[in-house]
Symmetry: C2
Subunit: 249 residues, 2 copies
Amino acid sequence: MQTVIIGSGNVAYHLAKAFVLNNIPLTQIFGRNEGDLKKISEELNIPYSTEILEDAELYILCVSDHSVENVSKIIIKKDCLVAHTSGSLPKEILVGDYRKSSFYPLQTFSKSKDLDYEKIPFFIEAENEDDKKLLFTIASKISKNVMESTYEKRKYIHLIAVFACNFVNHLFSRAKEISDSQEIPFDYFLPLIDETVHKIYEIEPRSAQTGPAVRNDERVLQLHEQLLQGESLEIYKTMNHSIQEMYEL
Amino acid sequence: MQTVIIGSGNVAYHLAKAFVLNNIPLTQIFGRNEGDLKKISEELNIPYSTEILEDAELYILCVSDHSVENVSKIIIKKDCLVAHTSGSLPKEILVGDYRKSSFYPLQTFSKSKDLDYEKIPFFIEAENEDDKKLLFTIASKISKNVMESTYEKRKYIHLIAVFACNFVNHLFSRAKEISDSQEIPFDYFLPLIDETVHKIYEIEPRSAQTGPAVRNDERVLQLHEQLLQGESLEIYKTMNHSIQEMYEL
């Protein structure tokens, strides 16, 4: 089975690494950024090219959403399977006479951060049963959590991930901005953050809510608003309003 | 050393438990809610009362912010130390002729959830060195992380905790609301949530930001907005606006 990964960013790197760690052969890693490709190629011992796309049965596009359509056009082979890895694109975005599919790993990827690949949920969509089976087989070598998903469902999965990951990280950024401004080490908050996450393994988040908004503690809410400004103040008001709406306060 | 905990809620329960686990003697747990007190008393083997407050050298008030002032008046003894456990109140809120202090554990407490007490940061403020030393000694038996903090600093610590804990949990609640509505198991998102938190142990949250807003991906932002309504839509817009402001997009 010949497989090529196209791209040299965070997703390409981690997917290539997951393949190598699970002894899934990779024919090539292909892309535009030679510096990045070379680094991945050397670390994982996979051939790379910026010019000649190897012949393969499966191409996996790990490029940014807005590049998927254009990059998909470089695959001129007909009898092959092409998968993109985006949470927010239909498989029909791919342009070519090949069979189209989606191979979506639900995780946040940073190159410098190691990952436990077997816990990453993979969502798969394909045109026919054979392709589906093939992608399931590959994903199941990497992860214990492989599922089928339509584009409709994938859109929602991606949206939920934005709330549970991207926005959560931004709250950490804003929290750190405040702690930096007051010379309070952000490390103080790590046990609290850990516990906030541990809790939802045992308790519904709705039942785990604490803080001034759910207590309807107007004094503290006003005190806090006086300490804030700009975007952090907007976040503070919007989140509290949403908490109070959820609990009908 | 005679110590009394006043209150029967989550903070009272966990603080009493932390005392017992670390062999710090507790004279009594005192409060209004006999049912709750009785449960704590039986589990931790500490005497309780709803009527007669025992004589002690230290009283720790674990009651809600708006009750601190009134409850503090029941301590009529003069030669003793009284501490409240609130992040957002000055020690001067306490009304009595005793010495006043603050003993603030930075954590989110739910009765049904076990905690690793030694990781909880404790912030201490007192009127004099002896009282400070006493509270430091007690807190240091429970936790490895004990610090002094003025009211000014404590206010900010509490505010940052709201962003890093209360708001993060509310994002989980809204995310779960969406996943429930689409019949997508929320468990799918737990590895992603774990990774979002693990990342900030290694990378600055500002550098770890991913998602459509920081990529300035207008197509996905608009797609997502069409899937949302009400408070979740407001959160979506506010958070993205704040992300784009932070990265000057």
